[in-house]
Symmetry: C2
Subunit: 369 residues, 2 copies
């Protein structure tokens, strides 16, 4: 199913997400009307092809997509529900229970409101960064409240499909608990680990390897955006953070006992068991992360290749990988300190590792599998 | 400088690190003699080309490299110092202050002992996984105690250079503090975040995106190895972990205040400031991580390309990147759920982004810069 041809979708808020939805829907033949408190922003989105100005469309919208900043979402949703009494209204905020609560408190028609959350974004913001394919292949959570009508839910599921996303239906509470664990707590952990580097001597920071680079990559995120997201999901976030704090405290107590032992204050009995269990629990949790396309995780084999640091070297490498007919599942680049080579770690299905290794060796690469 | 031609280096412990050192030194023309409590392991390393059995060499070693398990290192170092009264002795354990303390307590000759730590490893262990180029381009910390003679320090620096590593001289305490922050605490954070996924419903884990994948990649590490590493560095680790716990507690208190506010118990004044500062501090710390080859971090531009999930697609992409004469600085692959495409994020110097985008568009790729 998808949205009916020629359907009128009203997009309120023409930032990155709203304008991208407009671009994607316009391509499918929908009539997209655009509204934004900033007439300049709205005109820009129109000029980029995201739709037409709202004043140019006479018919009432069948669907309203509210893509306003998190703090304003509920107010706009309620206003749109009142303005278009036949329309389904959805929003795209990254927390769902708080918005539903506010819409309820403000007296919005809960039969026609269906919150949703496209799991897509960019480092850049605004309509100028919009992309028609922003949602392709991404999850789009559809999180109706208990009073939502099934026809309204179906319309929002169709919206997700229309822009190329993979819709997933969840309750607002389940959504918020899920993103607390898979998105918000990882963000906090990355920020806190990265913050430890601020006061470190240069010589110490120079020892940073691929591990901390991966752990802290998302620590470069925008503080203002994340403050709104984290604050909006405080109830679900609190639970996961409290569990994390308990685990961290157990590790800290074990490290304190071992430290005291190193200074002659006991042998830290049991402390090593706490550390081993913490790492083993991490193994078990990590193993649950799905592989590509939502399939069960697969243990890939890694083939490591030395790559000279020169233009085209990676290109030659991947050309040779392609020539061998092998599909890369994942890859990491690692750069050593003070040497003109990088290491490319190529992840492939185990059955392909030997073939890949011999193919690359034949082509003159320095390889270890 | 490097080790003199034909120098005799004795390697005690023929696991991954010891055997890799043997392979690398043998290639440089050094005489490498191998010793291991397991005669089978020792013979395997010999058969792989890491050196000769110790009994076959008559001359005394000029340098002894102790690559024993962390728990046994100090005892072996002291035994070797006594057995070879003219030799310099180093070890390769990943913590340095504890080993120096034990060697001191056991009465080892501290003038000839120079601890070190090659920042290299693999997921696999044992001589069978050894590689002559394991250390190429990697940091190798040389961490002499205060009583070490400069000639002994120079010998260990030369060892690092001989195997292709980039030696860095630090005190044992500075080394341990550095790896606590850049390696051990990130490991703990990754494990604790991943552990939160154990009890999550499948539908929630399915929302995992690239962020949590990066944060938790190293959570797949070996619990027994990491227990030894973390326990061995308890004094330095304690300090960094305590700072982390204080920061986490501040975030947790802010989230609790906002949660109470959401339930009508106050407005959580000041709480948003705590969250924003935590993320901003992470920005500042992350910005200190060096770019490739130890240079200052550079802000790269990112060009995102849709890649069909089929053999050779990435190969074609990187072939085309190479054709355009552009050097990739970094890259990430991201796989959406439920769609047969992946996203390749290509990081290049900002000046090259426009050229890369137009080159790839010309070749038929779907690109956003």
């Amino acid at each position: 199913m998808t949205l009916p041809a020629g359907v009128h979708v009203r997009v309120v808020g023409t930032g990155l997400i709203g304008a991208s939805i407009g671009l994607a829907l316009t391509r499918t033949g929908a009539v997209v009307s655009l509204e934004d408190p900033s007439t300049t922003a709205c005109a820009l989105a129109r000029d980029l092809g995201a739709g037409v100005l709202a004043a140019e469309v006479q018919q009432a919208p069948a669907l309203v997509v509210v893509a306003a900043p998190p703090d304003a979402v509920a107010t706009v949703v309620v206003r749109e529900l009142a303005a278009w009494p036949e329309a389904v209204v959805t929003d795209v905020a990254s927390v769902k229970l708080a918005v539903l609560g506010e819409v309820t408190a403000l007296g919005g028609d809960l039969r026609r409101y269906v919150g949703s959350h496209p799991m897509a974004g960019r480092e850049r913001s605004g309509a100028i960064a919009a992309q028609a394919d922003l949602f392709e292949g991404r999850s789009w959570v559809v999180a109706p409240g208990p009073a939502a009508e099934e026809a309204a839910v179906a319309t929002v599921l169709d919206l997700a499909l229309a822009v190329g996303a993979a819709p997933t239906r969840m309750t607002p509470a389940d959504h918020d608990a899920a993103v607390a664990a898979v998105s918000h707590v990882p963000q906090i952990a990355a920020s806190l680990v990265a913050a430890r580097l601020r006061e470190l001597p240069d010589s110490a920071v120079a020892l940073a390897g691929q591990g901390i680079r991966d752990v802290t990559r998302i620590a470069a995120s925008d503080p203002m955006m994340w403050t709104q997201i984290l604050a909006g999901n405080a109830p679900a976030l609190r639970t996961v953070l409290e569990d994390l704090a308990v685990d961290l405290d157990a590790v800290l107590q074990a490290v304190r006992a071992l430290d005291a032992g190193a200074r002659g204050g006991g042998d830290g009995q049991g402390a090593r068991g706490v550390l081993a269990r913490a790492v083993a629990s991490g193994n078990a949790g990590h193993a649950r992360i799905p592989g590509k396309h939502g399939s069960a995780p697969t243990a890939y084999a890694t083939v490591t290749v030395l790559v000279p640091d020169e233009p085209g070297a990676l290109g030659r490498l991947f050309h040779d990988v392609g020539d061998a007919g092998i599909n890369l599942e994942d890859l990491h680049l690692e750069h050593g300190i003070g040497a003109p080579v990088g290491l490319a770690e190529l992840a492939v299905v185990p059955a392909a590792a030997e073939l890949l290794t011999s193919a690359l060796l034949q082509r003159g690469w320095r390889v270890h599998d």
